[in-house]
Symmetry: C2
DNA sequence: CGTTAGCACTCGAACCATTAGAGTGCTAAT
DNA sequence: ATTAGCACTCTAATGGTTCGAGTGCTAACG
């Protein structure tokens, strides 16, 4: 789509102004804008053109213009000038990250908070997907005479654990048997293949200890299942309450959506590599038409990767968000890789 | 405080009516109330009395009455008729709990959701406090050539873990040394005493392996610290957005407060045994004057205990909340004890 | 003497009508 | 092609009026 330089300039200016105020933008306001030296009348003429292209809307006859969803799509995909991250923000991120990066879990929990704090929107981060991950190590840890914890770590560094209880005492000897079983038969297995069938086959292959081992294997299965479902952490939801578009009833709809963790996780995980913007209307939720999500991925050593995202109103400050999100995603990937990926190559 | 039977009856009726509508209650509405057979005029006469006692307020001259904070205090402490839990709700709880009680962590995460769903308010649950808890078992779990996870379980069943990385390969032999050290010197120690000093003393007592062991001990300390800070899980915050008192700016204040997890955890944990009601004004937060918290504790075997709470507007339906909360707290205690406490006595 | 009907009074909510102003589209002049 | 000028439209704000809910008081009632 090419619409001519001047129209582009005006559209950009409208988007910028609307991002700040949230109010419809009029021709007069625009002509006072520094980098546009046209009279209101000329701007109006251009605006009717943009109207006809479906890029601008008027809430009512005597109001200014508001960019349409189409305009944002166009802006994001073609018009937006990509900026570098503000060095000050960058320094700030660099100063905070080391404090929270002692542990992958903590890092992924605090990352959304940091991102939300920087952007003043809400943010989310998923744990690395475990589809292709394998069970790196698995252990049994007694917690009582008849209870113990199954703990497993995936190659993606995600931790899963499940308590089990059995009807007989867990003697040290028994624990050794279980421990050997797990490290020999379960360790190294892809997470995805730890199905009920897998567990059953395994149990069947050990007829002499089947009874003893059964609660253990069930726990293994549960732990694997827990890990398989990528978790999502949110932060800064309150920030969204500052925006007039999320006042009243809309606040409830928005927060109800954010509560649906699983759906949200799927939505932001399934995006392609790179940074993408999803607008509310684009994922079949008319009630969330005022909301947008900017997604990015952080990469770990292998193909394992997780997603982080910024959630805000349509009129977000995309250039900045993209810069911040991109930087944080790569920093996050680097830190997590350091924490998790073995330097086998050395 | 004794105010006469009839005044009590009227106050109770006002509180009940106000709980439902959130609107000031007038004398006419009250006289139509089934169990009050007095004319509006008589009721008005009584109401001026309640006014003078500081139990009722009028938003403006020609509006109905609203119970004051004092009235609620009085109502909760003395006036309220305690009800049994609705058998249907009870059945519902009983049907859900088994599904989520395979694992203490999950149970404490889902409990607020369940509670919020039942009450239609928001809810919170803290993990069991670990002040008097000891380290029940502690283990090291290799996750890479030079990284490993320290995992500890407290006597309260809380799990703590911390990754560490060192500059030398973690040979099986080395792991065995660490493992022995941990089980001999750290296992059984009270959580509260795992201080930097403790760690240093321990390191000093092992001059020959001090260098090797130092990153391990730091991780142990961090894991213990993580466990010591009682976590809090929330659920159902969205429900609060349905109440007119939490519309607009108030929504933001409320949600900002709910984000302060640590403060909230402290607040609801420090309540005495039993069920208590805290009103917004009572904990020095004038901006939260419309909010109340009903707290209860669930007990584990020992003195260990955690708290659960319902968070809602002042005009909550206390009798029901108290019944539901009480039942859930005891059910939760029972389930957690079963999961965690060893049947040593057998 | 407690209770109640009756009534004047108060005050906010709702409903106009009016106005002010922001923004537009069109036309004619530059 | 641009822009000044102007009539036009529509919202938001303003202010006056009405309506009704709820009150407090007084006087009548059982």
């Amino acid at each position: 789509m090419d619409i001519g330089e001047r129209k582009k300039k005006i559209l950009k200016a409208i988007i910028r102004a609307y991002a700040m105020t949230g109010e419809p933008v009029g021709s007069k306001t625009l002509s006072e804008y520094l980098d546009i030296s046209l009279s209101p009348a000329t701007i109006r003429n251009e605006m009717v053109g943009l109207d006809e292209l479906g890029l601008l809307e008027q809430p009512h006859t005597s109001a200014g213009r508001v960019p349409t969803q189409l305009a944002y799509r166009y802006y994001i995909d073609q018009l937006m000038t990509k900026t570098m991250i503000d060095p000050e923000v960058r320094r700030y991120i660099d100063s905070i990250l080391p404090d929270i990066s002692d542990d992958p879990e903590r890092l992924l929990k605090e990352a959304p908070n940091l991102l939300a704090q920087i952007t003043r929107y809400a943010a989310a981060a998923t744990t690395p997907g475990s589809d292709q991950a394998t069970i790196k190590s698995i252990q049994v840890m007694p917690t009582g005479r008849r209870t113990a914890l199954i703990i497993l770590v995936t190659s993606g560094g995600v931790l899963g654990n499940k308590l089990f209880r059995c009807d007989f005492d867990l003697t040290p000897e028994l624990l050794r048997v279980i421990s050997r079983l797990l490290s020999e038969r379960v360790s190294g297995v892809p997470i995805a293949s730890v199905s009920p069938a897998f567990v059953q086959t395994l149990a069947a292959s050990l007829p002499d200890v089947a009874l003893i081992v059964s609660p253990v294997l069930i726990a293994v299965y549960e732990a694997a299942r827990e890990v398989r479902e990528a978790e999502i952490n949110l932060g800064g939801q309150v920030n969204l309450l500052s925006f007039p578009e999320f006042g009243g009833e809309n606040a409830k709809l928005l927060f109800e959506f954010l509560e649906k963790r699983a759906e949200l996780a799927r939505l932001i995980s399934k995006q392609q590599e790179g940074i993408h913007v999803l607008m509310g209307q684009e994922f079949g939720r008319p009630e969330l038409k005022d909301m947008s999500i900017v997604t990015a991925h952080y990469a770990l050593g292998g193909q394992n990767r997780g997603a982080i995202a910024v959630i805000g109103p349509n009129r977000m400050d995309y250039p900045n968000i993209v810069a911040n999100l991109g930087y944080l995603a790569s920093a996050l990937g680097k830190l997590l890789s350091e924490l998790l990926v073995d330097p086998e190559s050395e």
